[in-house]
């Protein structure tokens, strides 16, 4: 390899490193949630996750509705709550809907912030078994930029939503 090519390769490497550092410095990731006021049962112990309804209707490289349901159940178990197999009168029934989902791509975010944004808008409705009234939680998770360090963002936004849902239940369980 001639010196000229070596220098060119070094320059490209430097450029890529700078771009990667810039992308990580400009990393933009957030999750925000809102909960409705109103009735909520005390002493949450058993939780029945009825499933996740996919209203986003968008194709992705994996079954993101199933992935979210699995993440919620895993976190509930890890948090010491019993995941019930049915929604009887003792259980809190959780209905989850994915309203918006975009898989995005870390490469796209690396090329231009926002270009490959991953985001999920998820709503959870909580009610005690056999009752119609309950509470709602809406979460919005976005990874707008962050470059190649944000690889896996398509799952991170769902995991963040699962965290919010479980944190909401845990806060109720402590009361």
């Amino acid at each position: 390899m001639t010196l000229r090519w070596r220098l060119l390769a070094l320059a490209m490497l430097c450029l890529l490193s700078v771009r990667a550092a810039e992308a990580s410095l400009l990393s933009q990731q957030y999750t925000t949630s809102w909960a409705s006021p109103g009735f909520f049962p005390l002493n949450v112990v058993q939780v029945y996750v009825r499933g996740v309804q996919n209203e986003a209707g968008r194709q992705a490289s994996f079954d993101y509705a199933a992935y979210l349901a699995e993440q919620v159940r895993q976190r509930l178990s890890a948090g010491g709550m019993t995941v019930a197999g049915s929604g009887d009168a003792n259980a809190v029934v959780v209905d989850v809907s994915i309203h918006l989902y975009q898989e995005g791509s870390a490469f796209g975010r690396w090329l231009a912030p926002g270009a490959g944004a991953s985001y999920a808008v998820v709503q959870a409705h909580f009610r005690k078994g056999g009752q119609a009234a309950g509470a709602d939680l809406l979460t919005v998770s976005v990874i707008g930029s962050g470059g190649l360090f944000s690889a896996g963002g398509e799952k991170t936004v769902l995991e963040d939503a699962a965290d919010e849902i479980v944190a909401f239940l845990q806060a109720k369980a402590r009361k």
């Binding site: 925000t32 809102w34 006021p37 975009q102 944004a117 985001y119 808008v121 709602d136 809406l138």
Partner: protein, 201 residues
């Protein structure tokens, strides 16, 4: 570099910042009324639509993009008033009477905007999350409540940064979708279990 070129980038930066800081005017109340409503309210129902309030979390700017752009129209004072008028017009369109003042004969509809934000990426969306409660005007008891989520795709996002920003039609659609769900749910409840049905009011 010539003098004109030296001025170009600061000028671009100032225009960009000015665009970001320009709030979008709130939509007119009529923009918020759903075009066709299947729900019909019982003729006897009389509702006083109370002031629309913003939940404290949303008010404190905890939604990052709302805070950054200041463009979300429903949390501006004029936007809240327009939303209230939009509720009144929607209820009237569905056949309800709406009282101008609070009286024991009218039930009170309380509205809390829990959150709303725009997700301004390749396909920009705006989302709105609102909690509605109907309170018995005689005793203050909550009779019915519903939390409604709605979404709308934003179009002409860039136009909002223009010198004279216009209300984005998407925000009107966003409110209309929310009000339609609220009206459907309230009408269904009133048809089934309105306590005033039996009391002759």
């Amino acid at each position: 570099m010539t003098g004109a070129r030296k001025l170009l980038w600061p000028l671009v930066a100032i225009l960009w910042l000015a665009g970001c800081a320009t709030p979008v005017p709130p939509n007119e109340p009529t923009d918020m009324v759903p075009r066709s409503l299947s729900a019909r309210m019982p003729a006897s129902v009389d509702v006083f639509v109370d002031k629309v309030v913003v939940d404290s979390a949303a008010k404190n700017g905890e939604t990052p993009f709302e805070q950054m752009t200041g463009k979300f129209p429903f949390v501006q004072p004029q936007g809240l008033d327009n939303y209230r008028q939009g509720i009144r017009l929607t209820l009237q369109a569905a056949g309800a009477r709406t009282s101008a003042e609070r009286t024991p004969d009218a039930d009170v509809l309380r509205t809390t905007i829990l959150g709303g934000m725009s997700i301004p990426y390749a396909e920009a969306y705006s989302v709105l999350f609102v909690h509605y409660e109907l309170e018995d005007g005689r005793n203050g008891k909550v009779l019915w409540s519903k939390t409604v989520y709605s979404q709308a795709r934003l179009d002409n996002v860039q136009n909002q940064a223009a010198e004279k920003p216009v209300a984005n039609p998407a925000y009107g659609r966003l409110a209309a979708a929310n009000l339609r769900q609220m009206t459907d749910s309230l009408a269904a409840w009133l048809a089934k279990s309105n306590p005033r049905k039996d009391s002759g009011n």
